[in-house]
């Protein structure tokens, strides 16, 4: 759809460019489905925002109740709360909400591609309860991915009875997902990008409009209730001298390695733990919680929960680089354990945490050896967040915009892009399958890998087209003239240039027949039917040609600059032959 462009002013009447679908009245009203869906997207955003506000309040309440207002090392509740609550979570996941394991991103993607967007409301309720308990009790997980799934589930619940077309019904989940994620992150642009980049995988005006509307409305709701301040304070950032980009490239490399280690840990442990006897599922979250509790008890309570406060501290130089490196390592361990044990909760916040700590640590080491570097710990931590996001979640666009949106500072875009590119390439070479694709495959599902899709070679019309058959006839020519022109040609079908614009075609047999019927002096224009041939441009995907080649033996391929200039033609055989040969 996005591949269509607006027709030129002199585009032939038979243009295949259905730029805007004809508005179909929604049953019982003049409101089109498209517009009604946009209205619904706003409501989805509002309800998702309200749900996420409640979710965040629940996490806070749980955390205060279980860990105390200021979780401190060497306190018994820090040691025991994650383990004891882990037992409860396991029981809930096994007996009440079996669909709530994991982060929520894969499940939303699976809903989109397998279940026509359907995510049971029960899943949203279960995710809400279990993830709030898990994060609030100190499991090393974040609230963003569950919010995404809660939003998607709410969207389905709201839109299921609306009698939308299948295409729109499928869109409900991503629209809700964007709203949920935007509300959790307080960052609408990143949420929209993530959903489009990782969940939907394609751009179109229709999708973008509804996703943006839902994301914006949910963020407005969250800011209404929880304030507009970001999840962590951004310190004043310093401009980056070009020579310092090397330092950020090193951070990108370190981030790529860390992301690969993190992803490999999850990929290795998850199937093995799930393969253990069913009885162990009751204890896996508790065991993970106990290990996390021990880490917290013995001096690093910062790694518990989502960890936004620790990120804030890291960005304000609260820790030495050694401590930052330790926290990054412990968080990888803790998050891996929490996640593979089947505890519901997200990976976004831990990824940002690891990135911030790693960034701060790498920056600290670099400044130790090269004191002239001007980047503050905050700058490195912020770039580090983007690096892990790009390397671990493999959302390169989102990672860049996320850092810009969170920091509100455009000056660090160059180091962010550079470091993210390094991290992305390194992580991809070490762990070829992105983490979310890997998880869905471990679950026995085969969802489209958007990273793979991005890199697939697209066949275009120009790959299949061939030179037009000569001669090209003109609509002003008479039947007699046309017969004379085609006399020496071996072709059986000829293209006719119509006036003022457009193309038609005529078969050799038809010309002969017109001649035998005594229409020798009549022009081709007067004899041909008024409908123009559909046409293509060379850069169109080849699938576009498939829609037209069955209607006419030859489809003209026209220059975008001059609709009377014929670049070539394609026929049904040309297209099919091309699909059998690898594209060059």
């Amino acid at each position: 759809m996005s591949m269509f462009s607006a027709p030129a002013a002199d585009a032939p009447e038979s243009s295949p460019l259905p730029v805007r679908k004809k508005a179909v009245a929604f049953p019982g009203t003049t409101l089109t489905e498209e517009r009604f869906f946009l209205v619904l997207a706003v409501f989805i955003g509002i309800f998702a925002g309200l749900a996420v506000v409640c979710f965040r309040l629940s996490i806070e309440w749980t955390s205060i109740a279980l860990l105390g207002p200021t979780p401190e090392a060497h306190t018994l509740r820090v040691l025991l709360a994650p383990a004891l609550v882990g037992l409860l979570i396991a029981a809930l996941v096994i007996h009440v909400f079996p669909q709530v394991r994991g982060s929520g991103v894969n499940q939303t993607k699976a809903a989109l591609y397998i279940f026509n967007g359907y995510i049971p409301f029960r899943t949203a309720v279960g995710k809400f309860i279990t993830a709030a308990l898990a994060i609030g009790s100190g499991q090393s997980l974040g609230p963003e991915d569950p919010s995404l799934q809660i939003g998607a589930s709410l969207a389905w619940a709201l839109g299921r009875r609306m009698k939308f077309s299948r295409e729109k019904v499928r869109l409900l989940a991503p629209v809700g997902a964007a709203a949920g994620l935007a509300a959790a992150f307080n960052a609408p642009i990143s949420a929209v990008l993530f959903v489009i980049e990782e969940v939907i995988g394609r751009w179109s005006a229709g999708i973008l409009g509804s996703v943006v509307l839902s994301a914006i409305s949910s963020v407005v709701i969250v800011r209404w209730f929880l304030g507009a301040q970001p999840l962590f304070r951004i310190p004043p950032l310093t401009g980056v001298h070009p020579s310092e980009l090397i330092a950020y490239a090193v951070l990108g490399i370190a981030g790529g390695l860390a992301a690969a280690i993190f992803a490999s840990g999850v990929a290795y442990l998850r199937p093995r733990l799930r393969a253990l006897p069913r009885a162990t599922l009751y204890f896996q979250p508790a065991l993970a919680g106990l290990i996390i509790g021990l880490i917290g008890y013995y001096g690093a309570p910062q790694i518990m929960g989502a960890g936004y406060q620790a990120m804030d501290q890291a960005m304000h130089d609260q820790f030495t680089w050694q401590m930052l490196a330790i926290l990054a390592g412990l968080k990888i361990l803790a998050t891996t354990l929490s996640f593979v044990s089947g505890t519901p909760g997200g990976m976004f916040a831990p990824t940002l945490f690891i990135g911030a700590m790693l960034g701060g640590a790498v920056g600290g080491v670099e400044r130790h050896f090269y004191p002239h570097l001007t980047g503050t710990t905050g700058t490195y931590a912020l770039v580090g967040m983007g690096v892990l996001f790009a390397g671990f979640l493999r959302a390169p666009m989102t990672s860049v915009f996320m850092v810009l949106e969170v920091s509100g500072d455009y000056s660090i875009i160059v180091p962010v892009i550079l470091a993210n590119a390094f991290a992305y390439v390194i992580a991809r070479s070490l762990q070829p399958i992105p983490i979310f694709d890997l998880l869905t495959r471990q679950d026995g599902l085969e969802l489209p890998s958007l990273e793979e899709q991005r890199e697939e070679t697209i066949l275009r019309v120009e790959d299949a087209m061939r030179p037009p058959p000569v001669p090209i006839l003109d609509s002003a020519a008479t039947v007699q003239e046309a017969n004379q022109q085609i006399e020496l040609s071996p072709e059986s079908v000829f293209l006719v240039r119509l006036r003022p614009t457009g193309w038609g075609s005529i078969a050799r047999d038809s010309l002969k027949r017109f001649a035998s019927e005594g229409k020798m002096e009549m022009t081709l224009g007067s004899l041909l039917p008024p409908q123009r041939l559909p046409y293509l441009h060379p850069d169109y995907p080849l699938e576009m040609a498939l829609r037209h080649v069955h209607q006419t033996p030859l489809v003209p391929v026209l220059s975008r600059a001059d609709f009377l200039k014929l670049e070539g033609v394609v026929s049904s055989d040309d297209v099919l032959n091309k699909y059998q040969v690898p594209a060059t």
Binding site: F43, F47, M162, G227, D317
Partner: protein, 372 residues
């Protein structure tokens, strides 16, 4: 009504209901959070007062995490952070507060102190001025004056005396008649070496309380620095009577009295007495040279021992001249004697100075300006 309109109406109703429910929940949550924040803040305050800024930082931070926008918590956290040396983070908080309320006196004062700690002179002065002319919710005058005093103290520590004097003059002009403030201003004038304004300020205090010992001592010191030794002696005597423990005043008084006793140019001193005093001063100068020459140990390590031989030669020359001088001798010779005394006292300063020496030095320096 068409079906979509009904649906939209229903969704609106549901949204309003949801909004109301979440508002209630959120209000309750906020109340609890604020109460918790207040509790943590108070713990932080107690720890700060107990000299535990590190712990205070943790509790202020926790308080702020439960009440994000609280101005007072942010300010206290910033102050505690500054006290623990984390100036960068303190600045982040303070700048954020300043952006919210650029006229706030407390924020500007904290930023001024932070800039002072970081040695940024211009910024310090700018923030202190903002604080002085800023908004203070309670007891604004006292807080403004305190900020002003801090600024002056800072300037004096930076040895920026002209700026300090300018601030002090402005401050004293806007000061209400409160002896404790005037006394403070007078002390600062003294530190700024603006003795005439200091003397006036002390006098203002004494107008309200004639026996205020600190003002008496201060006025005496100021008069002493203005070479008004008679006035100085009067105030210092009164100060000593009020506070016999005040050794500084006692010493200054002694010097003042010595000056008045030996001053050959004093009012009502007869010609014979003047000559006697000049000779006496001259003899003291000779003793000073001898004492310094025979001193085996340089009392001021790190300085070169004075070369006394040329001084002695000059002194002997002068002795011959003085021997020829009759009771009505020319005043020019008296000046020459005083010049020599000044030279002797200055060059033998490293041998250590007795109150007598200090008196002679001052007398020689200020012979024309000594109060008659």
């Amino acid at each position: 009504m068409s079906r979509p309109a009904v649906v939209i109406a229903w969704l609106t109703v549901l949204a309003v209901m949801g909004f109301a429910a979440v508002t209630r929940l959120s209000n309750r949550f906020n109340e609890q959070q604020k109460a918790l924040a207040r509790h943590l803040y108070e713990r932080g305050l107690a720890e700060q007062q107990a000299g535990q800024p590190e712990k205070a930082v943790e509790h202020f931070r926790a308080a702020l995490s439960y009440d994000h926008d609280n101005f007072q918590y942010q300010l206290s956290l910033a102050r505690a952070l500054r006290d623990t040396g984390r100036t960068g983070e303190a600045e982040t908080y303070l700048v954020s507060l300043w952006e919210r309320s650029p006229q706030d006196g407390a924020v500007n004062l904290a930023l001024g102190r932070l800039a002072e700690r970081e040695g940024q002179l211009d910024k310090t002065i700018q923030y202190y001025h903002n604080a002085i002319y800023g908004v203070w919710p309670s007891d604004p005058d006292q807080k403004r004056f305190n900020a002003w005093f801090e600024l002056i103290d800072f300037l004096l520590r930076q040895n920026a005396k002209p700026q300090a004097q300018a601030e002090l003059i402005t401050l004293s002009a806007s000061l209400p008649h409160r002896p404790e403030l005037e006394l403070r201003v007078a002390d600062l004038f003294m530190r700024a070496q603006d003795y005439s304004n200091a003397f006036l300020a002390y006098q203002r205090v004494l107008q309200g309380d004639h026996g205020e010992p600190q003002a008496l001592a201060g006025a005496g010191e100021a008069a002493f620095h203005l070479a008004r030794y008679r006035t100085a002696a009067r105030y210092l005597s009164a100060a000593e009577a009020q506070n016999p423990e005040d050794s500084q005043s006692a010493q200054t008084l002694e010097i003042s009295k010595t000056i008045l006793a030996v001053d050959p140019f004093g009012r009502g001193v007869s010609a014979g007495e003047r000559l006697r005093r000049i000779r006496s001063i001259f003899e003291e100068g000779g003793k000073r040279i001898d004492a310094c020459a025979t001193s085996s140990v340089n009392p001021n390590p790190g300085t070169n021992p004075p070369a006394v031989s040329p001084l002695k030669a000059n002194w002997l020359d002068m002795k011959k001249k003085l021997a020829r001088l009759g009771p009505n001798g020319e005043s020019g010779l008296a000046d020459e004697v005083m010049d020599l005394i000044l030279q002797i006292e200055q060059q033998t300063e490293s041998c250590g100075a007795t109150p007598q020496d200090q008196a002679l030095l001052l007398l020689a320096q200020n012979r024309a300006g000594v109060e008659q």
